[in-house]
Amino acid sequence: MNEIWIGIAAVLGTIVCYQIGQFVHKKWPVSFTAPVIVATPIVIIFLLSFDIPYETYMIGGEWINQLLGPAVVALAYPLYQHWSTLKKLTVPLLSGTLVGAFVGVASGMLLAVWADVDGAIFYSLLPKNATTAVAMDVAVSLGGVGSLAAVFVMIAGVGGVMISSFVFKLFGPVDSIGRGIGIGSASHAIGTASAMENSELEGSIATIAMVVSAVAVSIIVPLLVMVFM
């Protein structure tokens, strides 16, 4: 019984934090005020200041997590709606995504070698731009740690969305096709959620990038590791 109340409180609390996030994002519509970026720290600060362990919060958080799978499935609908536009763009969209996936793995590898990062951390870092489940599988299959891989996926996702408006302003790309591919292949589903807030077309493009790059990363990581390590 008690667990149910904790769960309900966790869900309601998350909804309140999300609404604060939405409010802030409406007021200052830039990428580092994206709802997930504003709401998550509020949840964490709340839990820390009342000494509530993450595991207790997750009694209710797990209920929300249950909907993560269907939420990813739902991305098929805008993709379907924009398909007549998107299918004409197959070559540009796929090329950008594949280049992005390769750059993500290769640059992660080079920077890690340069910074003397090795062992389990090294393998957990490489697949960071893929969606969580893929990244964890790839990392573990090479000798990385699943939960550590998930943290790097978060850095690519949340961190990527946070810096995206700044990075795009400084270095481009400027149009919604380029930005959709950029954010979708760099920041997977969290990036797609943020692209969806800009426009449905940009969101659908990011969806394609997310799906293709999940597959590409899972092939490129073991390949590059085999060749260079």
Partner: protein
Amino acid sequence: MLKFFTVAFHIAVLYIIFIAGTWIQQLFNLFIPGSVIGLVLLFTLLISGVLKVQWIEAGTAFIIKHLAFFFIPVTAGVMNYFDLFAGKGVVLILIGLISTALVMVTGGHVSQALMRRREAEHE
């Protein structure tokens, strides 16, 4: 109230497709997660006309409008890893961010450049 039930029903349909995706993943021992297989599955069902848009429309619109919400609990899990971010962890975060920024810029520019070249050819 009717709208609430429509949305709930549509989300249930999405959930079934997600479960189907997970089954396919386990059956063929695939490395692609069940949710992504479900995405491709739903897309195929819609394109082929097997599943009518009316069956999922309201639920998908609702979920996509609030997509960010569903990522809050998972993301809050970072709080268990604050230790990692001390000391050398900062370097790891920087590596992650720089490499992610590179993906954004290179991938995006390749698509944009190919698009523009195509548009120029058509003119």
